[in-house]
């Protein structure tokens, strides 16, 4: 919202030493967020009012003339000018040239390009002091629309003498504050200049002038019937009748004011309704009295398929729940939002009916949203305005109109007010306030400044909240604390560190495990944590064979493709993989997030919520599927042994076990804790990858059920005593059929002897020197006895045993060198 400082100063005399920066700061700290301000006159610096005293032809140019111009206190300057509308006695805008130490005026030649500084010059041999400006050259084309390009600004009608700065003459010598509308949502009283003035009066302890008011008598109620169908939607409706109006254009001062806050001037009556609204915060609407038919104003809901042509030309087909202003025959206006074209003010209008009413906040907002018509009026009504405002604002409107057109005849007001605003009283103890603020301050003076009246007895305040704050904003003792504290200044409250009782150490092993998992992946496994959204992409979901009728869906999703909430992170990580695979061919990503299970529900604090377990998904991409798979497997093995949980193992999933449909089914391994599955790992099917347009890399992924793992947290990892006797390493390389899996070999080796403490894979080899259909597996064993040093005979015996076992169980034979 734009707020003019001059406008505010109509109601409160702010001393000159309180500059705009200070106002900005103080309003921001105590009341609303002021985003900044602009000095309107900035672009009009060094442009002054001049008056032409004499016009002479230019000896060297037909289209130019020499204008002798009084630029104040009889200082006559010669200025060469091409303006076609120049006349002696005319008041014009003179751009002054650069002078010693003072910059000249900046103008835009023919309204285009960057502004250029004026200098004294000679034009075709004639000296010229500065420039007589056209509107577009000084950015005033809206106030002074030119009919032809060669016209210069004619200040006729402006009460100003030569030498006056133009900004002052036009009432543009003003500061415009920009207030963040969002910070005003809870303060309907601040949606007009008078409200801001009242706030500043409170901040600076200055008197607030009363709002001008024209005394309107009650009207004869036989003149028009007002019918309010729903007093909740329309708590109050007033109509004021006035005749003898001439719909002219508005006086220049009003046009300037409206322009300064971004409101275009239209005609006197419409401008006045806007002006009064921008002052008080209460929207008004004027009907042409001749257009009201049937002697009744109805505030009712629309009938099915009723139509209304709005002032801005929008043709609306109305819904039945829409609140309308109508006469006996037809809809006249969308209540609180915009009037209809047919009943609006025109040049011919002589008599008006001025509507000043109260409308329901939410209904107005919903209606405005429904029809996509958000106006200055609806913006105010949707905040919930003080119901005393309609009368106040109508009286203000007519005080202004009477001053401009003294001949008007204000014939009285009809006021139907079925739903009165409840007065609000709050009782609060001074200690309640001191306690929260953390110190004693003068409560009474702060309340008075804010217009709160009260009785105080023994430290207890009985407070009457003024009507403009009693719209829901102030109703509790806490609200009074806020009022007093903000006016005192939050920044004036000294910092006192709270005294906190010591408690026992906080143990949160589950939180720690989550973090350990992530840190292991990032810092030990070279993986990058990514964030994806909690909703999935329908195409990718389909590619992953995860289409899901039952998935939880959003009412209003980011896009129709994204309506389902995720049950598995992998599809979103595939999208991330695709994006990155154009740049890199080998990477590891992970995300830990909640997934949403529509099937299961959990009771939480009386709510029944979908089960939302945490999932960890790790994805390895590599050009080789084997590399991707083994890289991922290594990471998961590392992760499982790192975590302080009961031991986790990996085992090839039985074929009949259900695993995620996007895996190559024979690539899946389950991660188990005992018999409980806590995750699975596998290679993404090439078909799935192709459907996801992942063409450059192969992908392995692992999903872990974090909640299940967290539940297994153990505090200690038991220490195993070190053997007192030396260990022996023993390497073996055997030939096997290529179908024999390592895991089988490993388990046979392990079970061959208790002395074998470790078995580790060294390499697998096929090719030269290895017969077709065979492979060589090399591995290392660590042998150790806790009770004695192993002799070489014992070692040899164990090695022989291993060879024998492998030979009989899985056809292994020693590689012949």
């Amino acid at each position: 919202m734009k707020v003019s400082l001059n406008w505010i100063k109509d109601f409160v005399d702010i001393p000159e030493d309180i500059d705009p920066d200070r106002i900005l700061y103080d309003l921001t700290m105590t009341t609303v967020e002021v985003e900044g301000y602009t000095r309107l006159s900035e672009s009009l610096d060094r442009i002054t009012v001049g008056q032409i005293t004499e016009l002479k032809p230019h000896p060297g140019a037909d289209r130019l003339r020499i204008a002798m111009t009084d630029i104040g206190s009889g200082d006559i300057k010669q200025i060469v000018c091409g303006g076609t509308n120049l006349e002696v006695g005319m008041k014009v805008a003179v751009g002054e040239p650069r002078q010693k130490g003072t910059a000249g005026a900046f103008v835009k030649w023919h309204g285009e390009g960057e502004p250029v500084e004026l200098k004294e010059t000679k034009i075709r041999g004639e000296k010229s002091y500065g420039m007589i400006c056209a509107a577009e050259e000084i950015g005033l084309e809206e106030l002074f629309p030119a009919e032809v390009e060669t016209e210069i600004v004619d200040l006729v009608g402006y009460d100003c003498s030569p030498g006056t700065p133009l900004a002052t003459a036009l009432g543009l010598d003003d500061i415009i504050f920009e207030i963040d509308n969002k910070s005003l949502t809870n303060r309907p009283d601040l949606w007009g200049h008078y409200g801001i003035a009242r706030e500043l009066a409170a901040i600076y302890e200055l008197p607030l002038k009363p709002l001008p008011s024209f005394d309107i008598q009650p009207a004869d109620d036989t003149r028009l019937k007002i019918r309010i169908d729903d007093e909740k939607l329309c708590p109050r409706y007033t109509c004021t009748f006035c005749s003898g109006i001439e719909v002219t254009s508005s006086p220049d001062w009003m046009k300037s004011r409206l322009a300064s806050v971004g409101q275009r001037a239209i005609d006197l009556i419409v401008d006045l309704t806007n002006y009064a609204m921008l002052t008080v915060g209460q929207p008004l609407h004027a009907f042409d009295a001749d257009e009201l038919k049937g002697g009744e104003i109805q505030i009712r809901s629309a009938k099915k398929d009723e139509k209304l042509l709005l002032l801005d030309g929008t043709d609306l087909k109305l819904h039945e729940d829409t609140l309308l202003i109508a006469d006996s025959e037809r809809p006249l206006a969308l209540a609180g939002i915009m009037g209809g074209r047919d009943s609006g003010i025109s040049e011919k209008t002589k008599d008006i009916v001025l509507e000043a009413a109260s409308f329901h906040a939410t209904h107005t907002r919903k209606t405005a949203t429904k029809y996509g018509v958000r106006t200055e009026s609806s913006m105010r009504f949707e905040k919930g305005l003080d119901r005393s405002y309609p009368e106040l604002c109508a009286k203000y409107f007519f005080s202004l109109l009477k001053e401009i057109q003294p001949s008007i005849d204000v014939q009285g007001m009809l006021d139907v007010y079925p739903n009165k605003q409840e007065p609000v009283e709050v009782t609060v103890d001074e200690n309640f306030i001191y306690n929260r603020i953390g110190k004693k301050i003068d409560i009474s003076s702060h309340l008075k400044r804010l217009g709160f009246s009260f009785n105080e007895q023994a430290g207890t305040y009985q407070i009457k909240v003024p009507s403009w704050r009693a719209t829901g904003d102030v109703s509790l003792p806490e609200d009074i604390v806020e009022e007093v504290a903000r006016l005192y200044g939050y920044d004036n409250i000294e910092f006192v560190a709270p005294s906190i009782k010591l408690t026992g150490a906080i143990q949160q092993p589950q939180m720690d495990i989550e973090r350990q998992m992530k840190e292991f992946l990032a810092y030990s496994a070279g993986a990058f944590e990514v964030f994806t959204y909690p909703w999935s992409d329908a195409t990718v979901l389909e590619a992953c064979k995860l289409e899901d009728e039952d998935a939880l869906k959003l009412v209003d999703p980011p896009s129709p493709e994204n309506e389902s909430l995720i049950r598995d992170i992998l599809p979103n990580l595939l999208v991330t993989t695709r994006k990155n695979s154009h740049e890199v061919k080998q990477f590891t990503l992970f995300e830990m997030a909640r997934v949403f299970d529509p099937g299961a529900s959990v009771e939480m604090n009386g709510d029944s919520l979908p089960y939302q377990p945490k999932q960890l998904c790790v994805v390895c991409a590599d050009e080789s599927p084997k590399e991707a798979y083994l890289a991922l497997k290594g990471i998961i093995e590392g992760l499982c042994s790192e975590l302080p949980v009961k031991s986790l193992t990996m085992s090839v999933a039985a074929e009949d076990k259900k695993s995620a449909p996007y895996f190559l089914s024979d690539s899946v391994q389950e991660i188990l804790s005992g018999k409980e599955k806590v995750g699975e790992l596998g290679l993404i099917s090439p078909v799935v990858l192709a459907k996801c347009s992942i063409n450059h890399v192969r992908v392995a992924s692992c999903t872990l059920y974090v909640d299940k793992i967290e539940a297994m947290a153990v505090k200690e990892r038991p220490y195993r005593a070190l053997s007192k006797f030396p260990s022996v390493e023993y390497d073996l390389a055997l030939l096997f059929d290529e179908a024999v899996p390592w895991s089988e070999v490993e388990s046979h080796v392990r079970s061959s002897s208790k002395v074998i403490k470790e078995v580790s894979f060294v390499d697998e080899y096929q090719g030269k020197q290895i017969p077709e259909g065979k492979k060589s597996l090399a591995f290392k064993m660590v042998l150790n006895r806790e009770d004695a040093t192993l002799t070489s005979e014992e070692v040899q015996k164990i090695a022989d045993k291993v060879l024998k076992v492998l030979g009989s169980k899985c056809g292994g034979s020693l590689r012949q060198e």
């Binding site: 806490e478 903000r486 906080i506 959204y533 909690p534 209003d556 994006k579």
Partner: protein, 345 residues
């Protein structure tokens, strides 16, 4: 004989000194000091000398032998300690081998940093559900029935629950605050806890707006919590993030769940408060809302507002991360782009 020995010595020393690599030095050991060396031959010929001569020449020969051995060892040590001569020399300007290193998301990094700071002053970390109900995320937080945030243009409501109200109407949480009420119901006051996490708003996205973003919220509840206590929380957060004291200011703001409501600004870290484009030339950046829980919120949490007071602060983590690293587009945070993420490794 004496002269012969001296000559041998000088010749040998020259040879040793002339060596510039261990490879060249190694053969000299047997050549100069071995059994077949000239020196050994000289020593062998001592037999033919007189006892006197044997004594003097023998002594000299041994001295020479020892001195040559010392020189040899010294040269060997010198060459072994010389990187380029020891045979290990390579281009030391080659790039170092990179350790395998990924990264936590910059938001997670900051979140953990804050968790550490808060846990160190006795706060518990709490993790409320992401799908929550209207009851907790609106009703309990003193949002009026007709508050616009309750509409689907602001909040992601779940399909199938549209016609329900209160605890039966479910949504992706639009803020963390509802979770605080759950905590209050589950625990006994006094308490202090943080509950960071991701929240969701139905918005159109641009460089400054996201549909999913992280917040960090903290609540203290005790018998007496003056406004200034809230400032301790704020200062803790900012000091932790920026590694130094950061100037803050508290001003009036409005949020349904706090009474009174504060906007807490911090001094712009880009221009140090002088005013720049980041802070809109004000020198201040709006960082977080906060304030004491509204009495209705305490009641919803099962607490008597006459007995208990509190203070909330809520901070936009994404925004703080952006401020910290100078990130100019919030959408990067959910982009999953490794070119971005790898910068935080």
């Amino acid at each position: 004989m004496k002269e012969q020995l001296e000559a041998l010595k000088n010749e040998a020393l020259d040879k040793i000194n002339a060596c510039s690599s261990l490879d060249a030095l190694e053969p000299l050991q047997s050549e100069l000091l071995g059994k077949k060396s000239k020196l050994s031959e000289v020593l062998k010929s001592l037999k033919s000398l007189s006892v006197e001569e044997k004594k003097t020449i023998g002594q000299l020969a041994n001295q020479i032998k020892k001195s040559l051995a010392d020189s040899f060892q010294a040269k060997k040590d010198e060459l072994s300690d010389s990187f380029s001569a020891s045979g290990e020399g390579f281009d030391i300007t080659l790039p170092g081998k990179k350790p395998v290193r990924g990264a936590l998301h910059p938001v997670t990094q900051l979140l953990y940093q804050l968790n550490d700071a808060f846990r160190s002053i006795g706060f518990e970390v709490y993790s409320p559900p992401e799908i929550s109900s209207e009851l907790f995320d609106f009703d309990s937080l003193n949002f009026p029935d007709d508050h616009p945030a309750r509409e689907s243009m602001d909040t992601y409501w779940l399909r199938g629950y549209e016609d329900k109200i209160g605890k039966e109407r479910l949504c992706l949480r639009p803020h963390l605050t509802g979770g605080s009420v759950r905590y209050m119901l589950e625990n006994k006051p006094p308490f202090r806890f943080v509950y960071p996490g991701r929240v969701y708003r139905n918005e159109s996205t641009d460089a400054g707006h996201e549909r999913a973003f992280y917040q960090y919220e903290a609540l203290i509840v005790d018998k007496e919590v003056p406004f200034s206590s809230g400032r301790l929380l704020v200062d803790t957060i900012l000091e932790c993030v920026f590694g130094k004291k950061v100037k803050t200011r508290m001003r009036s703001g409005f949020f349904p769940f706090v009474e009174p409501g504060f906007e807490i600004d911090m001094e712009c870290q880009v221009c140090a408060g002088k005013g720049c484009s980041v802070c809109g030339r004000t020198g201040w950046v709006e960082m977080m809302p906060g304030g004491p829980p509204h009495p209705n919120v305490l009641r919803a949490g099962g607490l008597d507002p006459a007995e208990w007071q509190g203070f909330y602060i809520n901070i936009g983590l994404d925004r703080l991360v952006m401020m910290k690293h100078g990130i100019d587009d919030i959408r990067l945070l959910h982009s999953g782009d490794l070119r971005f993420l790898s910068q935080f490794a």
